[in-house]
């Protein structure tokens, strides 16, 4: 009983310590977590996979470095998939602290795209990604609701030049590309309420296909939009990113992170179960004591 008593009054710092030990050990030990792909992630993959080369995808990177750990893997895997398929990308970054991070991410991905890769026996040839031909980074402007609305008329309205100061018309891939009518879909990767505006002001008004990449805690909130057809796919948290990496045969940070996330989840569930066992025994003990009195 003494141990149980102690467990019931367990200082939360022991839980923290146990959790971090599990995370560190899981990170050090090499093993692979099987990934099962969900329908809402599969549909994003299928949509992008079905696009013909030279189609344009708008990737909206609407998160701050705060959410980088969870959302960066999504950006990496989707962008790499698009470029492997020779699609073109327009990047926007409507979160205040996001543009610098986005610029860095684009550089990292273009560097990694230049290398040859092999996965599951399939070889993916590296190629050079060129600004203005393969992608355009529009950058940041405040008041995202207005920007999302404005881009429905013309990208040039809010972004006469790209992030690096080049007029949009001087970029080969932007010639004749005016608004959402000229792009295949919008992929919003977000850690905040900008997503609401992409749904209501963007998709609601201009009716383009929209898919979401969200942090784990946000995901549950956006499932209704999947049912209503306003969104054609959702990638939720690190797991969603891992599923996408599995689909694109491009394992990266997310799949690696699953080795840590899964044991961490199991630890939390374990603690819940332990807490309940302790609770029941405690209750029984008290009942018995009550009976004696």
């Amino acid at each position: 009983m003494n141990i149980l008593d102690k467990m019931m009054r367990l200082d939360r710092r022991w839980i923290f310590l146990f959790l971090i030990v599990v995370c560190v050990v899981a990170n050090a030990v090499e093993f692979e977590v099987p990934i099962l792909v969900n329908r809402e992630v599969q549909s994003i993959y299928d949509f992008i996979d079905s696009l013909p080369p030279d189609d344009i995808v708008l990737v909206a990177i609407d998160y701050d470095p705060n959410n980088l750990a969870e959302l960066h893997p999504m950006t990496f895997t989707i962008v790499e998939q698009c470029w492997r398929k020779k699609l073109k990308i327009i990047f926007t970054s409507l979160s205040q602290n996001g543009p610098g991070m986005t610029d860095q991410a684009i550089r990292d991905i273009t560097d990694s795209m230049a290398l040859d890769r092999t996965y599951n026996g399939v070889e993916y040839k590296g190629r050079e990604i060129v600004n203005g031909i393969d992608y355009t980074f529009l950058g940041y402007k405040p008041y995202f609701a207005l920007i999302i609305l404005g881009m429905g008329q013309n990208f040039r309205l809010q972004f006469p030049t790209d992030y690096y100061g080049t007029p949009l018309d001087s970029l080969p891939m932007m010639r004749g590309v005016n608004n959402y009518d000229d792009i295949a879909c919008v992929m919003d990767i977000s850690g905040g309420n900008i997503t609401d505006y992409w749904i209501s002001y963007g998709q609601g008004r201009f009716d383009f296909p929209l898919a979401l990449g969200l942090t784990g805690v946000m995901t549950a909130q956006y499932y209704p939009y999947l049912g209503s057809g306003q969104v054609f796919g959702i990638m939720g948290g690190l797991l969603g990113a891992a599923e996408y990496e599995e689909l694109t045969e491009n394992p990266g940070l997310a799949k690696d992170g699953m080795r840590i996330q899964l044991p961490a989840h199991i630890v939390i569930i374990l603690f819940i179960v332990l807490g309940n066992i302790g609770f029941f025994i405690d209750r029984r003990k008290r009942k018995q004591e009550g009976g004696v009195q």
Partner: protein, 470 residues
């Protein structure tokens, strides 16, 4: 003289081929547009008919909606119509306006490169602005000259099967998508086949003028609901003022506030009040100010310490005012110190770090979280629990309510936060509005049930009653 003649001759020789080439182009264009002899006339589709242009409804003006009947060869007949092109007659004055805009862009670029607005550039810009305004004012007159002094210009394309086009422009005269209000506009639609030379034009629709509306009929349901609720609130407030007895169920979270302040006094520890991440415009923050006022009054009476770290500068200023008047209401204005309410930072997690640090250093007896909270809710509340404080929370952010329920001793869920001010004040006028809320809720439940029935029987008119168009 000889020199001049030679020059003229040379100029003529140089320019003549260009001019004649232009003439040929013009002629050939006319040939294709006016009378296309090279085209197999049997392939020309039937033109779109019954073209109408009306001012777009429920907007600020500067927009025309064009509708037409599909060509007989769209979806049936030869079925060779690929798209429709919509044209508007535009006076050449519009081009002059564009030239001014280019000038303006040049000046703006110069201001950018200089890095500041010099007097000279400012004057230059003012002159261009005035010219633009002047020219925009002449637009109605220029449009009245139709068909003189202008030409048809392509606005956009829609796919076959679509019989409507919104020509939506802006109100800003300095931007090229400007469409003048109260000017006679003319529209035309052409059915285009896969060979863009083979096309058929509709008749001309117009004149039509765009103008702004003074009431958005798409928002009528919101207006009715608002009026209904507003009148009900006022009605119950008046009723309450006349002395009607109104019952409000006790709110545990609010009752706990007084006990918690007493506890803090006994322990000789401070009270921490967090207003959340909202701005002073958020109703949750406004409700929180009221509760802060109450807490501050009690704190002043018991002479306990109060700490209010804030996230937003305006919220800070208002909160200072609230605490100050609460102290003087309690009869202890001399105890008020401006540093009770202070600003920390506008970075979410830096704010969390600062408040958590305060909790662990000061070990407050009670933490009160009221207002708007996001990802920081659990970070704050768990640290507070770790510090052994009694915690009372209230927020209308749905995603954060579970976190507060888990980590705090008392939680006000959603609207309870707003009701708290009425409950605290116990003023009949404030209670009156709660009654109105109850009736509105009953109406909502009733309408929801009728809505379910309506959906079952497919009474779409009932569902349409609640349709709000933005």
């Amino acid at each position: 003289m000889v020199y001049k003649l030679t020059l003229t001759l040379l100029t003529f020789l140089l320019i003549a081929p260009v001019v004649s080439a232009q003439e040929t182009v013009a002629a050939s264009v006319e040939a294709t547009v006016g009378d296309p002899p090279m085209i197999d006339s049997s392939l020309i589709p039937a033109p779109p008919s019954d073209i109408k242009a009306v001012d777009t409804d429920n907007d600020h003006g500067h927009s025309i909606t064009v509708t037409w009947e599909l060509s007989a060869d769209d979806g049936s007949g030869m079925n060779n119509v690929l798209s429709y092109e919509v044209f508007r007659w535009v006076p050449f004055l519009m081009d002059e306006l564009d030239t001014l805009r280019v000038e303006l862009a040049r000046v703006a670029a110069e201001i950018d490169s200089v890095g500041r607005l010099t007097g000279e550039l400012k004057d230059e810009r003012a002159v261009i602005w005035a010219a633009i305004d002047d020219m925009a004012d002449q637009m109605p007159e220029a449009h009245r000259m139709y068909p003189e002094g202008g030409e048809w210009r392509l606005l956009g394309k829609v796919a076959s099967g679509v019989a409507t086009y919104d020509d939506t422009g802006g109100k800003d005269r300095k931007v090229s998508d400007f469409i003048p209000d109260f000017s006679d506009l003319y529209f035309r639609v052409e059915a285009v086949t896969s060979d863009s030379a083979i096309r058929a034009a509709s008749g001309v629709a117009g004149p039509v003028q765009s103008y702004g509306q003074w009431f958005n009929t798409g928002r009528t349901p919101v207006f009715i609901a608002f009026m209904f609720f507003g009148i009900m609130t006022v009605f119950f407030v008046i009723k309450a003022r006349r002395g009607a007895e109104l019952y409000v169920r006790p709110l545990a979270g609010i009752e706990a506030v007084d006990d918690a302040i007493g506890r803090a006094t006994e322990m000789g520890r401070p009270i921490l009040y967090v207003l959340g991440l909202g701005t002073a415009a958020d109703v949750a923050t406004i409700a929180s100010f009221t509760i802060l006022g109450r807490v501050a009054k009690r704190v002043a009476e018991y002479q306990t310490e109060l700490i209010v770290p804030t996230y937003d500068p305006i919220v800070m200023s208002v909160a200072q005012e609230v605490v100050k008047s609460s102290f003087s209401d309690a009869g202890r204005p001399e105890d008020y110190n401006e540093d009770i309410v202070y600003f920390v930072t506008q970075l979410q997690f830096a704010y969390v770090a600062a408040v958590n640090g305060t909790m662990l250093r000061e070990l407050p007896a009670t933490n009160v979280y009221m207002g708007k909270f996001f990802a920081e809710s659990l970070l704050l509340a768990e640290t507070g629990a770790l510090a052994g404080s009694i915690q009372i929370a209230g927020t209308d952010e749905i995603a954060q309510i579970p976190f507060f329920i888990v980590a705090c001793d008392f939680t006000l869920i959603g609207e309870e936060l707003y009701a708290a001010s009425a409950y605290l004040g116990r003023e009949p006028v404030l209670l009156g509005s709660l009654k109105a809320q109850d009736y509105a809720k009953a109406a909502m439940i009733l309408l929801a049930i009728v809505g379910v029935v309506a959906a079952q029987f497919e009474w779409n008119w009932f569902i349409e009653l609640f349709h709000v168009v933005d």
